[in-house]
């Protein structure tokens, strides 16, 4: 039976004092966290660790005894990240516990080199795992932030605008992937229902590349809109994209395509039975209809 749980329990105050004393200024970062808070964190961490080790489980930190320690570390990692600690600094904070614990082990096991070595190895592995756990947590929370931003961009980047009574425009900007096409399709179709529009113009001026997948996504959107009774026009096809489409052999079927949004708008007006007239050309200056 390892002496580690016993040492942690009996020498808790001593370890804490040494830990606080020996922590280097780089680990303390007193510009980011004040001494009282730091002491509280150390104290709580030590106490939870002590409780967890009483189970005798020292090799794994994924089990039930370490649930509270893991919760504490997640919270610590989160709060430190918010204060401006780097993940390395947070991990170093956990690693710095090794030194005082090793010192205590040395005192206790002074006569027995084998025991001492085994105890140091076990402790070292345990603390390494805890330290790495904080890194993992900060990585996860960063990933969560990234995916939230992606979601935000997804919503921001698919505006459906009403150009005229019965005419919608959907200016697409950025690369089209499956997830985005799904959002585009849903927003467009919902808007078609809401506004009762008969024509929708999909403008792909801002789409950098059109490959077979993007073309297929566009076709799906157009087909779905047609099923609901709305016509789609694709506009904003740049010369290079026209070349790519033909070279790839992507057929856009019988979808109406126009080079510019303006051309597409004229076609859409025609289909809805309106037209644009210049008021300057006519002497009586009738407003456009």
């Amino acid at each position: 039976m390892s002496k580690i749980p016993q040492i942690l329990r009996e020498d808790e105050q001593q370890i804490l004092a040494e830990w606080m004393r020996d922590m280097s200024s780089a680990e303390k970062r007193s510009d980011l966290i004040n001494a009282d808070d730091l002491r509280q964190q150390c104290d709580r961490f030590l106490r939870l660790l002590q409780q967890a080790t009483q189970s005798g489980q020292l090799a794994e930190i994924t089990g039930e005894p370490y649930a509270l320690v893991r919760d504490f570390l997640s919270e610590l990692s989160d709060s430190r990240a918010r204060r401006g600690f780097t993940p390395t600094e947070t991990a170093k904070f956990v690693f710095s516990l090794k030194k005082p614990v090793f010192a205590r082990l040395r005192v206790r096991e002074s006569g027995n080199a084998d025991e001492l070595f085994a105890a140091i190895q076990t402790t070292s592995e345990l603390i390494d795992k805890l330290g790495l756990f904080t890194t993992e947590i900060s990585q996860k929370s960063r990933e969560a932030i990234i995916s939230r931003h992606q979601q935000d961009m997804l919503e921001l980047s698919t505006p459906v605008v009403k150009l005229w009574e019965g005419i919608l425009a959907l200016p697409l900007i950025g690369t089209l992937d499956s997830a985005r096409t799904q959002v585009v399709m849903e927003t467009l179709l919902q808007k078609v229902v809401d506004t009762g529009s008969a024509v929708a113009i999909i403008d792909i001026t801002g789409v950098p590349t059109v490959d077979t997948l993007v073309a297929q996504h566009l076709m799906k959107t157009v087909t779905a809109a047609r099923l609901m009774g709305a016509d789609c026009i694709i506009s904003g096809i740049r010369p290079q994209i026209a070349q790519t489409i033909v070279h790839l052999g992507v057929g856009l079927g019988d979808i109406t395509t126009k080079a510019t949004l303006a051309d597409a708008f004229l076609v859409a007006l025609e289909r809805t039975g309106s037209s644009v007239r210049s008021s300057i050309a006519e002497s009586n200056g009738k407003p456009r209809t």
Partner: protein, 126 residues
């Protein structure tokens, strides 16, 4: 057994699907509708699916079949009021209902039928 009512409006037939379609209901509708087209000498059929929330491949194919049968019987078919979710599902299922005319609502659908007029069964709009 419940049936979907088929209403006659002049030379057009109006089918409003107000309940979720199941397979037998769809088959019954196909039967009734073809009979009614012949007996009434209808020149256009308008199918309103604005209350239809759920479609599967079978119902999708039934819609395409009904449209094709009406065409054989010389009546134009317009499907109106498809919900976005239904449209996306049909597209994902690969059922783009070629040859079926579509419109946003009953009013526009009727306009389309009237415009098709005597040329019932002509090529689909597009």
């Amino acid at each position: 057994m419940e049936r979907i009512p088929i209403l006659q409006m002049g030379e057009f037939l109006l089918v409003t699907i107000q309940v979720d379609m199941h397979d037998r209901l769809a088959l019954a509708l196909q039967d009734d509708l073809t009979n009614k087209i012949v007996s009434a000498g209808a020149r256009g059929v308008l199918i309103d699916i604005s209350s239809l929330e759920i479609v599967d491949s079978f119902i999708g194919r039934m819609l395409a079949n009904i449209a094709a049968m009406s065409r054989v019987l010389d009546a134009a078919t317009v499907v109106v009021g498809m919900k976005p979710a239904v449209a996306i599902t049909l597209v994902e299922l690969g059922l783009s209902l070629p040859g079926v005319r579509t419109a946003l609502n009953v009013e526009k659908g009727m306009d389309l039928l009237r415009a098709a007029g005597g040329r019932a069964g002509g090529p689909a709009k597009h």
